[in-house]
């Protein structure tokens, strides 16, 4: 197998083929870790203390495919590889890896001497067991994120040595390492996994910096330091066990409680600073904000049926409201506006030229609607065509996909679009209703705001995959099934050349935005407000999981 070797320690960048450098980050992260070493020599962070972390939502299991589970999994498990802020891939449980020329075989060398916190040694077979479980056909075992990302390209995983894993793909899948860096692919102890679903829900076991001690349902998860931790990712700020003794992961759903507990010192750090406290938090605390990758929260326009089967009407809807202003006045600066509805601005493939797509232009909106034949108006000023009202139902997941700030912004969009003659109806849908399919039928909506958090443009294969046979791709609520778009995405996913792949993804973004299949709204952000006493908390790339392994309390 001729291959290239991604060296980490002791290897220079000269081994790397041209074009790979930006993704493989080597030089940048090396200097980062050296820089930290110098700092560490000057002042060794203090040990001890327990971090009180005020989180928001409580998942039904402590590990799994939901983003709320990724956050927790980041604390107690390690991944094969880690993703750096600039989109590069750094070693983690895999110290090095090779990729075959046909891009279909990956061979990972696993770090020796690592143990799961139940004492099970980490070896190649443990990694293989995890792969087999993620991609299992048994709905009780599989990891839905793995199914969505990897299953279509995955062939097999084998242990070809005690510490050597071979992954074979059916076809090249260049985002593989990006995907494997996400916490839902955190490697768990095979011994623990064999206990079954309930035990793994309650007390999952990884090799991470913290150990799950107890989950007090409805209140918190108690984690303690893993004293033998020796497998931090190469882009961590330090190697070895966490500085703090433990972590209390509290579920504080109500914003006043969450922010209040930070103000009174009951929490050292909280998740998701409420908009109303944003300005105050920035004055009193250290606020860390991370814009997540994948798609932003964008308005998916139902292109399958009238009125949005006409691209002119879609564009008119996009021009009809000042979404930038609506976002500014509703989110009060806590979240920026995102005009490129195709991809989040933190993704490396992001096309910034589309950031201002469809600015507020009521004249243009009116002209397009006239052109499309929506010329008559009823007594309320709503446009008509063949006696039919220009009605747009925005079906939104209230409180979970769209927060109260977002709902306020949608109300502004509703008012402004009415001026152009759109009869906009806001249709809130609860999480259970939404997940049970209510209001999501093909004729139930004209607009569906949604997002998909991911590392970057590899999300396109999920959200733009055309329907196959009887299976409707529910993630493509735009129902936009453009053949050119899909072939671009498939080509990009299999293109090794970095520059070429980015260009393909950018062409895809242009098609999505130019056809107004989606209209930009806001990126998904993760914010933490941290008591200044607590140092070196960071958010992982690209989904913004809080990382507490490097954190310490200032003396």
């Amino acid at each position: 197998m001729s291959s290239f070797f991604i060296g980490w320690l002791g290897k220079g960048t000269s081994n790397l083929p041209k074009g790979a450098a930006p993704r493989l980050l080597i030089a940048g992260a090396m200097s980062m870790s050296l820089g930290h070493a110098v700092l560490a020599a000057e002042a060794e962070p203090a040990s001890g203390g327990i971090i009180q972390y005020g989180h928001e939502q409580e998942p039904p299991c402590l590990a799994g495919p939901w983003i709320q589970q990724w956050y927790l999994q980041r604390q107690f498990s390690d991944n094969l590889v880690s993703r750096t802020d600039d989109g590069g891939i750094a070693p983690w449980l895999a110290t090095s890896w090779t990729v075959s020329d046909d891009r279909k075989t990956y061979i990972f060398q696993i770090k020796p001497g690592v143990k799961f916190t139940d004492g099970t040694p980490l070896n190649a077979q443990a990694i293989v067991d995890n792969f087999n479980l993620w991609l299992s056909d048994d709905p009780e075992k599989l990891n839905n994120a793995a199914t969505e990302y990897v299953k279509r390209s995955f062939q097999s995983a084998q242990a070809i040595g005690n510490l050597t894993v071979r992954i074979d793909l059916k076809k090249p899948y260049e985002p593989l390492l990006d995907v494997l860096s996400q916490s839902t692919f955190g490697i768990q102890s095979p011994t623990a996994l064999a206990r079954g679903r309930q035990a793994n829900c309650e007390q999952p076991v990884g090799s991470g910096a913290f150990i799950v001690v107890k989950w007090n349902h409805g209140q918190d998860v108690i984690l303690k330091r893993n004293p033998d931790y020796n497998s931090a990712p190469a882009n961590a700020k330090h190697q070895g066990p966490a500085y703090v003794d433990g972590l209390v992961w509290k579920f504080l759903r109500e914003p006043p409680v969450r922010y209040g507990s930070l103000v009174t010192g009951e929490s050292d750090v909280i998740y998701d600073v409420p908009g109303v406290d944003w300005a105050d938090a920035n004055k009193r605390f250290q606020v860390i904000r991370h814009i997540t990758g994948g798609t932003p929260l964008r308005l998916q326009l139902n292109t399958a049926f009238p009125p949005f089967d006409d691209v002119r009407v879609r564009k008119a809807f996009a021009y009809a409201s000042d979404r930038r202003k609506a976002v500014e006045v509703s989110y009060l600066g806590a979240v920026p506006y995102e005009g490129n509805g195709a991809l989040s601005q933190s993704s490396p493939e992001y096309l910034s030229a589309l950031a201002d797509a469809y600015p507020y232009d009521p004249d243009q909106a009116n002209r397009l609607l006239d052109e499309a034949g929506w010329t008559a108006r009823d007594s309320d000023g709503i446009r008509l065509k063949n006696g039919r009202k220009l009605t747009v139902r925005i079906v939104y997941g209230a409180g979970f996909l769209v927060t109260s700030d977002g709902i306020q912004a949608l109300q502004i969009v509703q008012e402004q679009a009415r001026e152009a003659g759109f009869n906009v109806l806001l249709v809130p849908t609860t999480q259970a209703e939404f997940w049970a399919g209510k209001n999501r039928g093909p004729h139930d909506y004209e607009v569906q705001p949604s997002y998909w958090t991911a590392t970057s443009a590899e999300v396109f294969q999920i959200v733009w995959r055309p329907d196959s046979g009887n299976v409707v791709n529910a993630m493509n609520a735009s129902r936009f099934q453009d053949a050119t778009l899909w072939s671009l995405i498939e080509e990009a996913d299999q293109t090794f050349d970095e520059a070429k792949r980015i260009k393909l993804y950018q062409e895809a973004q242009r098609i999505v935005v130019d056809s107004a299949a989606v209209v930009g709204f806001v990126p998904l952000t993760v914010t933490l407000a941290v008591n200044p006493r607590l140092k070196d908390v960071w958010l992982s790339s690209a989904v913004g999981a809080p990382v507490f392994h490097d954190a310490y309390f200032a003396k």
Binding site: E266, E433, F434, W435
Partner: protein, 330 residues
């Protein structure tokens, strides 16, 4: 039918204790009927909500919208028996319930009884401490001020109306911001500490104190005008003594009746207050279970809460006998 049954039970030959036994039997049958009705209602409402339950369970496990194949949907339908007619599902559920099997939560993958068992104690503690606090506030306000012709008394009765109309969720938020965030007298997070119990208790107790106060005050004023009160005063008993020892005892009965109902209301109020103060309890679990349409868990919580409600009402009925010996077991 129930009359006949009641009459038959009354006719049972239990000797001296027969009246008590018959009373308990009738109560038990009534309680079982209430539980059956609650179970049925909750099951039917949960089952008939729009949307596909198998899809919901799959999406819930995935934490996202997914594209399950028909085979995956069929597997979930088979596992939970969703493919059966609703009547069969209902009878199966009832049968299991009769055997003490509340089922397994769709989303937490744990037995319902275990989940509720681990969470119900903090809710019971909160509900009953709120009940006691509400009684305390109501009695103090009534004994001190009811039936007096001064501005304080008028203010108090106006205040009781305001208290009775205040939602616990709102009171909770105000108390939290004032006494925990600004004054820092109490912790923001209630947890399960004694001091953390104070604000949630007060938030729940205030509206109930208003209700109980309004009811017992009315009775209190009526009793104040009774001849035995005048005769007590004539015997030289002090005003406060008369109010506390004679009048209150007669006036509390409607309040006691109300307390049976209040246990139910406190449980539902606790659901909201627990979330404001991030307390452990069935409240948080119920909110999550309802939004996930976790039928076994929601039904389990509702049935167990209804059981406590039934029990509380039995206790209230017994309390009548203690408070007012003139009342006899019917």
């Amino acid at each position: 039918m129930s009359m006949t049954l009641a009459a038959r039970i009354r006719a049972l030959p239990f000797g001296g204790a027969s009246r008590h036994v018959a009373w308990f039997l009738r109560r038990a049958i009534g309680g079982a009927a209430v539980l059956w009705a609650v179970t049925t209602f909750t099951f039917v409402v949960q089952s008939l909500m729009p949307g596909d339950r198998a899809l919901l369970i799959i999406n819930m496990a995935a934490g996202n919208i997914t594209n399950p194949s028909q085979a995956e949907i069929d597997a979930v339908n088979a596992k939970y028996g969703f493919a059966d007619p609703i009547a069969v599902q209902y009878l199966n559920y009832l049968w299991r319930l009769l055997h003490g099997d509340f089922g397994v939560s769709y989303q937490l993958h744990r037995p319902v009884i275990e989940i509720v068992g681990a969470q119900i104690l903090p809710t019971i503690v909160l509900a009953f401490s709120a009940l006691l606090t509400a009684w305390f506030i109501a009695i103090v306000m009534t004994v001190v001020l009811a039936g007096r012709a001064n501005p304080w008394a008028r203010f108090a009765s106006g205040l009781q109306i305001v208290m009775a109309t205040m939602p616990p969720y709102w009171i909770g938020t105000i108390l939290l911001v004032t006494f925990a965030v600004f004054l820092r007298i109490f912790p923001v997070e209630g947890k399960n500490s004694l001091i953390g119990l104070v604000l949630p208790t007060v938030a729940l107790a205030i509206p109930l104190a208003g209700f109980i106060g309004l009811v017992i005050q009315q009775e209190f004023v009526r009793v104040l005008e009774q001849p035995f009160v005048t005769s007590s005063r004539a015997r030289g008993m002090g005003d406060f003594g008369v109010r506390l020892r004679h009048v209150l005892r007669h006036a509390v009965l409607p309040g006691v009746t109300l307390s049976g109902w209040a246990v139910g209301s406190l449980f539902s109020g606790a659901v909201l207050v627990e979330s404001v103060f991030a307390r452990q309890g069935i409240g948080g679990i119920l909110v999550g279970a309802t939004s996930a349409r976790d039928v076994p868990l929601v039904t389990g919580i509702v049935v167990i809460s209804a059981g406590i409600y039934v029990l509380a009402n039995v206790l209230v009925d017994r309390a009548y006998l203690i408070i007012d010996p003139r009342i006899k077991l019917a």
